[in-house]
């Protein structure tokens, strides 16, 4: 049974893998036996994460590039195939919060386009390039997109929420289109998840306060993405496709009242 969670010898690509949730997934995937390629813009972060994985006995390499540029995305997938002889699982994880602090009706085109490019276009390009390799190999594979609790409901992050809603639709659309080619497509929707370990007590306190809004009474940790990533990349989820996995401590399920609120009526 546990063999089905193993990824030994599998080629796995994680965009945005230098830091944050991508780093957490890359660590776990490598620990499960995968040959991991992480991609991002910032070389120092890539180098650090690759080193961490190698220090832990895993196999990792990196590709430095801009995921909003389809030519660079295609080059990334080619580099992965060259390095590891194929591509079995691809996490279109790269994204950004960003934008500008302005009312919706004041938002500039440039900010909207930037957020959309980094969260939605990048996912589209990555899935497109990865699926092409998977289809042509005849072996299929698995694609994992990253949406967000912010893609579900009202939020002041208009462009981000719109883009993440788009990622959710991309997942569903592709699950049908790619299923005949033995490619599964699933999505991970994190709630509030810390991008790194807290730097100091002040940050720890701030997170504890944020956690008060979540049924689990805490925010998620960056490394908690790992086991879900392994499950979705592996044969353990071989009949699962087109699904979205919230990893949010119960946040999306609640939200009707403050998380700790108890109504009083008894029979």
């Amino acid at each position: 049974m546990l063999d089905q969670f193993r990824l030994d010898g599998k080629a796995v690509l994680v965009t945005g893998g230098g830091r944050g949730l991508g780093r957490g997934m890359a660590h776990a995937l490598a620990a499960a036996g995968a040959n991991v390629m992480i991609a991002a813009r910032t070389q120092e972060q890539l180098d650090r994460t690759v080193q961490e994985i190698r220090d832990a006995g895993g196999t990792a390499t990196s590709f430095s590039g801009d995921m909003t540029d389809s030519a660079q995305v295609n080059a990334m997938v080619e580099a992965c195939v060259r390095e590891y002889g194929g591509l079995d699982a691809c996490f279109a994880n790269a994204g950004m919060g960003g934008g500008v602090d302005a009312e919706f009706w004041e938002w500039p085109d440039s900010a909207f386009e930037e957020v959309l490019a980094n969260n939605l276009k990048s996912a589209f390009y990555t899935c497109r390039a990865a699926s092409k390799v998977m289809v042509e190999s005849g072996k299929g594979g698995t694609l994992i997109t990253l949406s967000s609790a912010g893609g579900y409901r009202a939020s002041k992050r208009w462009a981000y929420g719109t883009a993440k809603g788009g990622v959710l639709s991309l997942t569903k659309v592709l699950s049908g289109a790619l299923a005949p080619h033995k490619i599964r497509v699933n999505c991970i929707s994190p709630g509030i998840v810390a991008q790194r370990d807290p730097a100091d007590d002040q940050e720890r306190a701030r997170r504890a306060q944020q956690g008060g809004f979540i049924p689990a009474n805490r925010v998620g940790e960056w490394w908690e993405m790992g086991p879900l990533a392994v499950y979705l990349a592996s044969d353990a989820s071989s009949y699962v496709t087109g699904q979205d996995f919230a990893i949010d401590g119960g946040m999306l399920n609640a939200g009707l009242a403050p998380a700790k609120y108890r109504p009083h009526a008894e029979i």
Binding site: L256, P258, A265, I267
Partner: protein, 262 residues
């Protein structure tokens, strides 16, 4: 060709509202009457509920419509059937049924007894099942394009502490609407639900003397609780013969955007 008519007019329609003593039921009954219908008011218990329904009855009669009162024991499918038959006979048929029973209970799951669970399921869910089953039977008898509207709660799809029994019952109502809506669609019977968020009369579940209770009332996008009379127009739309004829199996939230809250 679309029918040349006022889409939302209920003139001449025979309607039955179960749980007419509840704020939602009363609002729906008044709205049906305002739109031109006669209304049979069914109350769940033969106590002060009757008095509350009598106020609704007077309002409806003041509009020049007919209203009558019945006591319906919704815990018993047979009683629902017999009372509905009586209503249909006395009104000369039945076109529209709404049902708004509501028994809220808040208890930790480990303290909820078997009996309490059974009662919450019966009042909130089984009653709705009986009403759908019986209403369909009446519509079928006269080959009428029936309309059924159930009142449910947003707790049917989202969580809150201490509501496991109540929320489960309403989750069951959600799927009753989908499953029975599918089943009845080929008979020209539509079945939909109105899912209520925080209403200003729900002091059993939102205690405004509690700071968190007050905060909960700011969770809807409109940043306020709803009012019973805000349910009426949606109920009329869902009951109308031509206004919603191709809509079935749907849950329509009247929640001020509460379900969009993170």
């Amino acid at each position: 060709m679309p029918p040349q008519t006022d889409y939302f007019d209920l003139t001449g329609k025979k309607t039955m509202v179960v749980g007419a003593e509840t704020p939602a039921g009363g609002a729906i009954a008044r709205a049906y009457a305002q739109a031109g219908a006669d209304v049979a008011l069914c109350v769940l218990t033969a106590d002060e509920a009757v008095m509350r329904a009598r106020v609704v009855k007077r309002d409806i009669e003041a509009m020049g419509r007919k209203a009558s009162e019945y006591v319906m024991d919704v815990m018993l499918g047979k009683n629902v059937q017999v009372t509905t038959r009586q209503v249909a006979k006395e009104m000369g048929g039945l076109d529209i049924v709404a049902s708004a029973p509501d028994l809220f209970v808040a208890k930790p799951i480990e303290k909820t007894t078997d009996m309490e669970l059974a009662r919450v399921m019966q009042v909130n869910f089984s009653s709705q099942f009986f009403i759908v089953r019986t209403a369909a039977e009446e519509f079928r008898r006269d080959h009428r394009p029936g309309r059924i509207t159930l009142v449910t709660s947003v707790l049917g799809e989202r969580s809150m502490i201490d509501t496991a029994a109540y929320a489960s019952a309403h989750g069951a109502v959600y799927n009753l609407v989908r499953a029975a809506g599918h089943e009845l669609a080929r008979e020209n019977i539509t079945l939909n639900a109105i899912s209520l968020g925080w209403m200003d009369y729900m002091d059993d579940r939102i205690d405004t003397s509690d700071e968190d209770g007050q905060r909960a009332l700011r969770f809807p996008m409109l940043r306020r609780a709803g009012r019973a009379e805000e349910i009426g127009p949606t109920a009329v739309w869902l009951a109308s013969e031509f206004g919603s004829a191709f809509i079935t199996g749907q849950i329509i939230p009247i929640d001020g955007g509460l379900l969009q809250h993170q």
